[in-house]
Amino acid sequence: MTGGGVTGGGVKVWVLHLALLAVLFSAQFWLSPYHATNLVRIMVLAVFAMGYNLAFGYTGLLSLGHALLLAAGMYAAGLPAQLWGWSAGPAFIAGVAGGGLMAAAVGLLALRTAGVSFMIVTLMFAQAGFLTLLYFAPITGGDDGFALANASRRIFGFDLSADTPRFLAAFVIFALGLLASLALVRSPFGRSMVAMRENEERSRMLGYNPFMVKLAALACSGLYAGAAGAAYALLFGYAGASFATIQYSILPMLYVLLGGAGTTLGPFLGALVMFALIEAASGLTSAYFFLVGAALVALVLFAPKGILGTIRERWVRWLP
């Protein structure tokens, strides 16, 4: 967070975010069904990345275990739907709560460490979560996962497996997540999150309890991850242990770094660009991760603050 800091920008900031939401909303009318479905995926992954951004980009908590929180949301929504026939609304709420509770539980232990130790401990927890899902394969479906019954994928009478309701559901979750994260980072609590990232010792001597601030930030991050996991399960009708693998801990970090850590729109932009990059690269070669890697190396070399971080630093100082 440079220049304008937590506050500043005012009306311009809200106009920018609402304009983006308007464009995204209209996309269902002008995108092909194939691309619209991709955009649903991107919006859901962007919600996940927004949560990661709250922990990493704003609070400075470099977690390598967010896949656990995504999976917690996915299974907290998916299992009740599968086992007890919960409908999409309650299942989604259970997923959000599952992500938040898991984050709080992990945070209680992991936040006793910091820096590299924190990375290792969160990684360990995520790995333990993944192995737990495999161990209880008769219930969780293990690596194969399970498909959600269409009966569970209904909300207010709409069928989430159909294109339009699915797009709208993803859009609503994304829009609420984006506006909530904007309000959060511009609030006094958002400022104290940034204070943890910038100078924890000084914050302590201003009367903040760093442990509690970081725990609250991590729990918020978990709510987002839980929402994303639950949305993925309900919108695409599938839950599986593959979402608990390390890959899904790394992805939100890449999105955030690419789009710009500590920017509200960075997670979406990062998810969008990375998705497009993989799409384009996979059309050229089967070694498409090589091209993605090269792009990331270029990013780190020439724009280490990510796309929006660089834009904010050079041109648009009021960008939140």
Binding site: T2, G5, V6, T7, V194, N199, R202, M205, G207
Partner: protein, 234 residues
């Protein structure tokens, strides 16, 4: 005058080094109390114990007669003990406004912007609020550090070498500012600049090798032969 903070037998050793060694100390409400002593006398370690950045191995700290020895630092800050760092510790990448707002909002979020601007105006930094803290001059960074301490509206303000590295003109402004704080705020001042100490302090405590060598008014300290030998070098 009533004792605001009292310590009894406060001790912290680092291996063989007796940084703070059985210190009995009283900070009276409303005074400007200077803590002086040669380098390595244990001054910063002693105030770290008061502010809770370190915990003592033995001894007690009382505030208003209540034992606060085991309280963590952030709780002591909320009880009114503010500490400004010897080495400037601000939020370098945040704006001046956000730096001070972080201190102000720790006491409640009502009219945050207004109270933050008032805190900046009090020290004459109102024109700098949008500037990134790390781009301030050194003198202004020190002043920002002090402003954050003041914005906590502390009962005790601990200043650890606040004039270090300041120009003579800035020191003058600093002295006037600190004079204006008492008696509402009690000040504990670690300072090497003897002119500042003699100008400001109502009482002085001299530390040497982690022990209290003498306590008294500036005149008494100046006249104390043990102090002269150990420190003033006269």
């Amino acid at each position: 005058m009533a004792a605001l903070i009292e310590t009894c037998g406060l001790t912290l050793h680092f291996g063989g080094l007796k940084a703070v060694d059985g210190v009995d100390f009283t900070l009276n409400s409303g005074e400007i109390h200077a803590l002086i002593g040669p380098n390595g006398a244990g001054k910063t370690t002693f105030v770290s114990l008061l502010s809770g950045r370190r915990l003592p191995q033995s001894g007690t700290i009382l505030m208003d007669g209540t034992d606060i020895t085991a309280l963590p630092a952030h709780v002591r800050v909320r009880k009114g003990i503010a500490y400004t760092f010897q080495i400037t510790s601000i939020f370098p990448r945040l704006s001046v406004f956000d730096n001070v707002a972080l201190a102000v909002q720790a006491r409640g979020v009502g009219d945050l912007a207004g109270r933050t601007r008032a805190a900046l105006a009090r020290v004459g930094m109102e024109g700098l609020e949008k500037q990134e803290a790390q781009t301030l001059s050194y003198g202004h960074q020190r002043l920002l550090e002090l402003t954050m301490g003041l914005a906590l509206q502390p009962r005790v303000l601990i200043l650890d070498e606040p004039t270090q590295g300041l120009a003579a003109s800035e020191i003058e402004g600093f002295i006037r500012l600190v004079e204006g704080l008492v008696p509402a705020t009690t000040v504990l001042l670690i300072e090497h600049n003897m002119e500042v100490v003699m100008d400001l302090a109502t009482r002085i405590t001299v530390l040497n090798f982690g022990k209290v060598l003498a306590t008294g008014t500036p005149a008494e300290i100046r006249a104390n032969p043990a102090v002269q030998e150990a420190y003033l070098g006269a």
